[in-house]
């Protein structure tokens, strides 16, 4: 996965620390974003046949290949369930988030 690492956002101290207009070097990820998830997708790795359909359909690009099977980056998964719905072998189940 080529998602940049989350880096700490340093608040500008002076107006000149801001960029000129809303434009900045790409690749900065100041915070995780998954707080609004109520169901989370869980992959059954035994069932998974590694077809990568889930990887293709994920609207947020949070599915990635891990040890030859797909995995999910829960720091950014919003829990939309598209992957579970599209999985051809029912290897992904949506489970209610605790709390």
């Amino acid at each position: 996965m080529n998602r940049p690492k989350v880096t700490t956002y340093k608040r500008p101290k002076h107006i000149d620390d801001y960029p000129t207009g809303p434009a900045y070097q790409a690749g900065h990820l100041p915070e995780k974003n998954a707080g609004w998830r109520t169901f989370k997708p869980v992959i059954d790795k035994d069932k998974c046949v590694n077809c990568l359909i889930c990887y293709l359909v994920c609207p947020d690009g949070v599915i990635f290949k891990s040890e030859n099977k797909v995995d999910i980056d829960y720091d950014f998964c919003k829990g939309c369930g598209v992957c579970a719905n599209e999985c051809n072998v029912d290897a992904i189940k949506m489970e209610k988030e605790e709390k």
């Binding site: 107006i15 960029p19 000129t20 809303p22 434009a23 070097q25 790409a26 690749g27």
Partner: protein
């Protein structure tokens, strides 16, 4: 210094100016009375004399969007519009200034519907004074050409990076013919450096452009825009002086005072009506009346300091507005009054006229000067006067 002398309309002068500035991309949609600009540029591209990517877009909203996109990859851009087209661009105008894209646009000042009218007044561009664009208003075709060139130098300055609107009166300037001087291409190339933007979109240095902000940062970006506009005061003066030194035409920077030194009454004018007012000032001066005029060239940034200096000791100031902000007064008047509010003993009167293309004649202007000189403040029912109404009113 050899400059070619040509006989052209104001629209054509703008097309010549745009060609000399060598924008990489032109995107524009034709609208009366700007159409000739688009036609001439189209012909110049066709005959090979104007090397630009000319995009035939389907609307003004697309025109402003296209030049914004082009500007974001570091291209110099040009567009032109008028009235309804400008209003249709309104969303994009704020976007362009917020994104700090130094687009240059010609606007042919024309009345806004309804009632439908193709003729001139300033209600289109004045309704967008707050869109974050620099606004200059020209008096004649020569100034239109020259300001189209100057516009790039000011807008693209690294301390400014703000889009620039060159306004000329619909028909009065766009469709009348004048003899004008066309600067040499080589001299313009020397005057106008290549466009460089800190926000260039490129594969080598990927950028996130036009992002959103939370309330924690939004105001800082707006403050920056304000600072950039304030920075432009100095750049406008310097650019006009440099232009004058190289090409022999200096326009006075932010504004021009004409016979104001010992004036008892001054009329503040914007755009082509300044020319008519000069003639009237000269006539009245011959008759021994001490009158002068101030041609406000820039309305954003607004030259408060220069205006106070130009008014000097004069105590009677009229403001001619081809505009009315319904329920208040002319918008130029509001701006002038705010600027001179700290001046003591200045009586100011707003003359509203010329709307929807109604002529403002020499006798109309003579009436304004006479009214300024002879009517005492106590006699005035209102300091907002509609001039040259065709019918009786309740005034």
């Amino acid at each position: 210094m050899s400059q070619e002398k040509i006989f052209v309309s104001g629209d054509e002068a703008v097309a010549y100016g745009a060609r000399l500035a060598r924008p990489h991309v032109v995107a524009a949609y034709p609208i009366t009375p700007q159409t000739v600009v688009v036609e001439r540029i189209s012909e110049m591209v066709e005959d090979g004399s104007f090397a630009t990517d000319f995009m035939h877009v389907e609307s003004e909203h697309s025109a402003i969007s296209a030049v914004m996109g082009a500007s974001s990859v570091g291209a110099r851009t040009f567009t032109a519009t008028s009235s309804q087209g400008l209003a249709y661009m309104a969303e994009g105008l704020h976007y362009a200034s917020g994104g700090r894209f130094p687009i240059v646009m010609m606007n042919a000042n024309r009345s806004l519907a309804l009632p439908w009218s193709i003729f001139g007044d300033l209600r289109d561009s004045l309704s967008l004074l707050d869109s974050g664009w620099i606004q200059v208003y020209v008096e004649n075709a020569q100034e239109a050409l020259d300001m189209t060139i100057q516009a790039y130098k000011i807008a693209e300055h690294q301390k400014v990076l703000t889009p620039f609107m060159v306004n000329l009166d619909g028909f009065i300037l766009t469709h009348t013919y004048e003899e004008i001087m066309v600067p040499e291409q080589q001299k313009v190339d020397e005057f106008l450096p290549d466009f460089k933007t800190p926000n260039k979109m490129s594969p080598e240095e990927p950028k996130n452009l036009g992002f959103s902000t939370s309330p924690a940062d939004n105001m800082e970006f707006k403050y920056q825009q304000h600072q950039a506009m304030l920075n432009s005061f100095k750049i406008i003066e310097e650019t006009d002086k440099d232009f004058g030194n190289i090409f022999g035409r200096y326009y006075g920077g932010l504004l021009e005072g004409y016979r104001t030194d010992d004036a008892e009454a001054i009329l503040v004018t914007v755009g082509s009506v300044t020319g008519t007012t000069r003639v009237v000032v000269d006539k009245l001066r011959k008759e021994g009346k001490k009158v002068g005029l101030i041609k406000l060239r820039y309305l954003r940034p607004f030259p408060k300091k220069e205006l106070i200096e130009a008014i000097g000791q004069t105590t009677r100031v009229g403001v001619l507005d081809k505009d009315i902000s319904f329920g208040y007064e002319g918008t130029i008047f509001t701006n002038v009054r705010s600027a001179i509010s700290e001046m003591q003993n200045v009586e100011s009167v707003n003359y509203v006229g010329g709307m929807g293309g109604r002529d403002i004649s020499k006798s109309d202007i003579e009436f304004m000067f006479t009214d300024l000189l002879e009517t005492s403040p106590a006699e005035r029912k209102s300091n907002v006067q509609f001039i040259n109404m065709g019918v009786e009113t309740y005034e």
